[in-house]
């Protein structure tokens, strides 16, 4: 059984979702929680059995699908993907467990379980076509969540979300087909296995084109400036659980794909495009940070802050050294936890007041002290205070990119200032001051269900901020392998010099001692 744990992780929730149609409405919540708990336990088992010292893929599974064209069902995880899978199962669990009073709760739970399947699939797939299938499938439950449970503009938002990301994915698919074709030309074998593709060294001009094709798909998903405008609508209209899943996991698909595909497949192109992408990332950090400051709706503040943080992740990824990439992957987890928690928190107040306008609030710290405390902790984590989860990622990302460019890092670093400005301003508007609005005078504080979702997130964000090692170490090992692969594959002298050679470094250091 344990040989196929990844398949079980993928298809167990899907199967459970199908069976869920037959469950009575009264017992669907406990059913959903039970399924999600089992799924989460399985993912923890995955972590438990995961060999932290190995850098390669583990729990590999292979099953031929269309052998003629080299399309196989290949799964596997390494230090980069294993934690995102755990994060996704974790969020599904607390998402279902803390689901508020919404209509058609049965279909919501079934949708979430389907979503769980697609998320695990994306992060576990090692075949481009399988990856693509899960990647696109993940749009469907999200489309459904926004479109069926969203706000007044939900149809517009969900269609925009779907078509925008779908368009990008199609370009990515074309890139994948070309990649397979080039592989076929080079070796005479059709394959879509990513690990096979890793071994192919492409000429630089081909790399540039393919990188661009993949980039469109990934960048829209992240979302990178200027492709980000679907996100505020999606967040603005999505129900709380939708925003949580979107921010915590779905956005990470884009950044994960950069690490999984773009960097190791196209090292020279990565170096070539590094500076333009860094500039985009800096625009994301500063510009969307400022836009977040101008918002009047607290959910939009969090939504734009997500974009801003994703900029830091991109920057870290394109640092192309171990520090930066490890940091960016850690920040993916950190941002998942923190942004997810912040969307939960916004949902809490929305459930009570049915508005997200900050002008409607004010003085909530007096009325809801526990809520204000949890929000404060999460806000500080979002701002990137040391000993919270985000600091580790941000620090490493910036540190990594500093090696590549001083001045751009300095500019990107202003993100910590901009971030503090919009977060503190929003917190002040919502929580400080006197309670002026009558409707706020008797709001109930966090209830048990909400605490169940939020307390673990608070614990994680502090635990991994203080002691990131259990997570950072496996990430580091896998990243080192990728960076070394990139260095070995690189053909242009610039790429060779930009991407560090770990083996030689270690040897020369040992020689020096």
């Amino acid at each position: 059984m344990l040989d196929n744990i990844l398949s079980i992780l993928i298809f167990f929730p899907a199967l459970a979702a199908v069976l869920g149609f037959a469950i009575q409405r009264d017992s669907i919540r406990s059913y959903g929680v039970a399924v999600a708990t089992i799924e989460f336990a399985l993912s923890l088992l995955l972590w438990f059995m995961f060999d932290a010292n190995a850098s390669g893929m583990q729990f590999m599974e292979t099953l031929p699908l269309v052998p003629v064209f080299g399309i196989n069902y290949i799964l596997g995880v390494d230090g980069i993907s294993v934690f995102i899978i755990i994060l996704s199962t974790f969020f599904t669990l607390i998402g279902i467990a803390s689901l508020g009073e919404i209509k058609k709760v049965k279909y919501m739970i079934i949708t979430l379980l389907f979503l769980q399947m697609t998320m695990t699939g994306v992060f576990a797939a090692l075949d481009a076509i399988v990856f693509y299938v899960f990647w696109e499938l993940s749009l469907v439950p999200m489309l459904y969540i926004i479109g069926a449970w969203g706000g007044p503009l939900r149809i517009y938002a969900s269609i925009k979300f779907f078509l925008y990301t779908f368009t990008g994915s199609l370009v990515m698919l074309v890139g994948m087909l070309f990649m397979a074709y080039f592989y076929y030309q080079a070796s005479g074998i059709w394959t879509f296995a990513i690990l096979d593709w890793y071994r192919l060294v492409l000429p630089e001009n081909l790399q540039l084109w393919l990188f661009a094709a993949f980039f469109v798909g990934f960048a829209i998903k992240v979302p990178m400036f200027p492709f980000h405008t679907w996100l505020p609508y999606a967040h603005g209209q999505a129900p709380t659980i939708g925003s949580v899943m979107l921010a915590a996991i779905l956005l990470k698909m884009g950044t994960y794909a950069f690490v999984r595909f773009s960097l190791p497949l196209f090292p020279d192109a990565s170096v070539f495009y590094m500076m333009p992408i860094a500039v985009l990332a800096i625009i994301m950090i500063i510009y969307t940070g400022m836009v977040a400051y101008a918002q009047k709706d607290i959910k939009q503040v969090v939504a734009y802050s997500s974009v801003s943080h994703m900029g830091v992740i991109i920057l870290g990824t394109f640092a192309l050294n171990v520090e930066g990439i490890s940091g960016s992957i850690f920040l993916m987890l950190g941002h998942g936890v923190v942004a997810g928690a912040l969307f939960f928190l916004v949902g809490v107040i929305y459930d009570r007041r049915h508005t997200k306008m900050m002008s409607e609030f004010g003085g909530l710290a007096t009325v809801m002290p526990r809520y204000a405390t949890v929000f404060g902790i999460m806000m500080m984590a979002s701002v990137g205070l040391p000993l919270t989860i985000n600091f580790v990622g941000e620090f490493l990302s910036f540190l990594g990119f500093y090696k590549q460019s001083h001045i751009l890092t300095l500019l990107a670093g202003t993100g910590i200032i901009v971030g503090a400005i919009y977060m503190l301003a929003a917190y002040k508007k919502a929580f400080f001051g006197e309670v002026t609005n009558e409707a706020n005078k008797n709001l109930p504080d966090l209830n048990k269900k909400e605490l169940f979702a939020l307390i673990p997130l608070v614990i994680i964000s502090i635990w991994l901020g203080v002691y990131p090692k259990p997570v950072l170490e496996p990430i580091n090992n896998s990243v080192e392998a990728i960076v070394q692969l990139m260095h070995d594959k690189a053909i242009t002298p610039e790429a060779k010099s930009r991407i560090p050679n770990l083996i030689n470094d270690k040897n020369s250091q040992e020689g020096a001692h």
């Binding site: 078509l163 925008y164 492709f227 980000h228 405008t229 510009y287 400022m290 836009v291 400051y293 101008a294 918002q295 171990v322 520090e323 490890s326 940091g327 710290a365 007096t366 002290p369 526990r370 405390t373 500080m380 205070l385 040391p386 000993l387 600091f391 580790v392 620090f395 490493l396 910036f398 540190l399 990594g400 500093y402 090696k403 001083h406 890092t409 300095l410 670093g413 202003t414 910590i416 200032i417 503090a420 400005i421 503190l424 301003a425 002040k428 929580f431 400080f432 001051g433 006197e434 203080v466 002691y467 990131p468 090692k469 950072l472 170490e473 990430i475 580091n476 990243v479 080192e480 470094d505």
Partner: protein, 640 residues
């Protein structure tokens, strides 16, 4: 010794977490008592460590666990107790013990009593991390941690708009500086490969001077924010919105001196770059004068003391910048004692006067508040630098340093500032405690603070008086780590002229302040007197219009630009172009749907037309492919 190190470090954390358990409940006296007890245990541990170091027991160094490790980066949670950090530990734990005890009385009637102790102890913990860390990353943890606690404590009365505004201002301004510091850390890491103090400093002499200069500049930018140096100084005065014990602990004695500590700790670095050091010293002297001038006319008791703090921080930076690190640290220590005392005294006055801050509305308080009067007067004497109080030994030493190093401009500025310091300190004392009892006009009945608060303050009083006598012991201890330069003026005559001259100058300033403000003719200013309408007074009173400038030229444009970015750029350009593309596709469909009339006959006609079109295209391409050679010749013949 490790045990004491852990107690000193973690007792405040335990205290904070313990108090945090009761934040949601009404006031519990025992949180205050337990918190104070734990902080005092940290103090005791620090004393043990100090004795250990004084007896030549050597540096205590522990590595708790790994924090971050990736690539070549390795950052542990490492803590070190050496001559410099033990000094800071003593200052921090001593002042915070006093402040904790004092707060039990001061926050007596406050709803957030338990919460206050939680924050206050959290601050002490962060500060301990800051001073005890053995690497720059750990320092940064504490650095940001004290920033967070400062934010929490300034905004402690969060229902007040001004308090939360000041809290955010302080946090954001500190963040600006923190970015500088972060960049400094990156530079250190990429050029020395480590963030551990010892290894990084060992590697620095072999680095390019330019790089070391940049490291120094960026680290000092970090120090500027935390120590509120110009131009990042405005937050400190606004931070006085917090409860007064907070001002005493954070914004006088400990947190604001973190910048000085950073420079002192990085002495091996700054020794390599004397030009940066000179800049630091010049900026320090400027801030000393600049802040003192603003204190001259201010009418807010706490702000006057805050400006005085700023001014004294300037002194410390002069010493540190000129390479007299031990002098800077000594002044830091002495200043912590008398300035915290001054603030706590001001807290007593505020309590007595029902949170009135304008000293012009007080007067004659020496009768009802005898002990507070004595304490504040002695603290002011110490601040002014009168022999034999603590300030004389530490501040005069800085003047001597400037003199011996032949920076006569700095010396003159500092000397002049010393006169101003004496003047504004005693202006405050005179206005509060002497003269007519103007408070009667406002129907206030002042009373002395609780006895245990006064007793709690007494260690500070004692140290403010006698700290100077520890100078040589201290010198011998701390120079094990810092450059042991003694600053002696070679000619005895010059030395005596300078010392006596300075004392006379300061004494005259005090007398002048008394003469001007301790008489019965002082009334509450109403904005009509000639002085109040003079240009200089207005400029000083409005803090050189700097807060106004910041508001007009940074805050407002930032807000407007943000709105423009959102409403114009994001909505009208970026999003609109996406929607535009979607609109084109959608519009094309809308326009061409008329073709789908549903009439089979029409559709068949379209089908035929389409087939014909495609066929003719196929024929054209086929022909073109077949006769491509000929076409090329024809085209080339035409000169295309």
């Amino acid at each position: 010794m490790e045990l004491y190190l852990y107690i000193a470090l973690f007792a405040p954390l335990v205290s904070s977490l313990f108090s945090a358990l009761f934040t949601a409940t009404p006031k519990k006296m025992f949180t205050g008592v337990v918190a104070s007890g734990l902080i005092i245990s940290a103090l005791v541990s620090s004393i043990v460590l100090l004795v250990h170091i004084l007896n030549g027991g050597g540096v205590v160094h522990v590595e708790l666990m790994t924090w971050m490790e990736t690539g070549d980066l390795y950052i542990p949670f490492g803590f070190v107790v050496d001559e410099v950090s033990v000094t800071m530990m003593m200052v921090v734990t001593l002042v915070s013990s006093v402040v904790h005890v004092y707060s039990v009385g001061y926050m007596d009637h406050d709803k957030g009593f338990n919460r206050f102790f939680s924050y206050l102890s959290a601050f002490v913990f962060s500060m301990m991390v800051l001073v005890m860390s053995d690497n720059f990353a750990g320092l940064f943890i504490g650095w940001e941690g004290v920033g967070l606690c400062s934010w929490l404590l300034i905004g402690f009365w969060y229902h007040k708009e001004s308090a939360t505004w000041a809290a955010n201002e302080a946090f954001i301004m500190n963040r600006i500086a923190d970015l500088g510091m972060l960049i400094g850390l990156f530079l250190i890491y990429w050029h020395t490969g480590t963030l551990q103090y010892t290894e990084a400093f060992a590697a620095m002499p072999s680095l390019n001077t330019e790089i070391v200069t940049w490291i120094g500049i960026f680290l000092f930018i970090g120090a500027m924010g935390k120590s509120a140096q110009f131009p990042l100084h405005t937050w400190l005065a606004d931070a006085m919105e917090g409860p007064t014990p907070v001002s005493a602990l954070i914004h006088a004695a400990t947190m604001v001196t973190a910048g000085v500590y950073l420079v002192v700790r990085s002495s091996p670095l700054f020794d390599l770059i004397p030009h940066v050091g000179l800049f630091i010293a010049s900026l320090g002297a400027f801030v000393a004068l600049f802040a003192a001038s603003m204190a001259l006319v201010n009418r807010d008791m706490k702000r006057i003391i805050a400006y005085s703090t700023l001014s004294q921080l300037g002194y410390m930076f002069v010493a540190a910048g000129l390479g007299a690190y031990w002098v800077a640290l000594f002044h830091l220590m002495a200043h912590a004692f008398f300035k915290a005392l001054l603030f706590l005294g001001a807290g007593n006055v505020m309590h007595a006067m029902h949170d009135e801050l304008d000293p012009f509305k007080m007067g004659g308080l020496k009768k009802p508040m005898k002990w507070t009067f004595i304490m504040m007067t002695l603290a002011s004497v110490a601040l002014a630098g009168i022999y034999p109080f603590a300030g004389f030994f530490s501040k005069d030493l800085i003047l001597e340093v400037a003199f011996v190093e032949h920076h006569f401009i700095l010396y003159t500025v500092l000397l002049f500032t010393a006169g101003l310091t004496a003047f504004y300190s005693f202006r405050l004392v005179a206005l509060i405690f002497h003269g007519e009892e103007r408070y009667k006009l406002f129907g206030v009945h002042p009373h002395e603070a609780y006895k245990f608060m006064l007793i709690g303050m007494s260690p500070l009083l004692l140290l403010a008086i006698i700290a100077g006598s520890f100078k040589m012991t201290y010198f011998e201890m701390v120079t094990a780590l810092l450059p042991a330069t003694e600053y002696h003026i070679h000619s005895h005559l010059t030395f005596w002229i300078m010392t006596i001259g300075t004392q006379l100058f300061v004494g005259l300033s005090i007398l002048y302040a008394y003469k001007k403000y301790a008489n019965s003719s002082i009334t509450v200013p109403n904005g009509t007197s000639k002085m109040e309408n003079s240009f200089v007074y207005k400029m000083l009173f409005n803090q050189y219009y700097i807060p106004y400038l910041y508001q007009e030229y940074f805050v407002k444009p930032y807000r407007e630009l943000s709105t423009v970015f959102w409403e114009q750029v994001d909505m009208k350009i970026v999003d609109a172009s996406v929607d535009g593309i979607a609109g084109i596709v959608y519009g094309t469909g809308e326009k061409t749907r008329a073709m789908q009339s549903g009439n089979l006959s029409t559709m068949l006609k379209w089908m035929v037309a389409g087939t014909v079109g495609l066929l003719s295209l196929a024929v054209v391409f086929g022909l073109a492919a077949r006769y491509s050679g000929e076409i090329k010749t024809i085209l080339s013949g035409l000169g295309v």
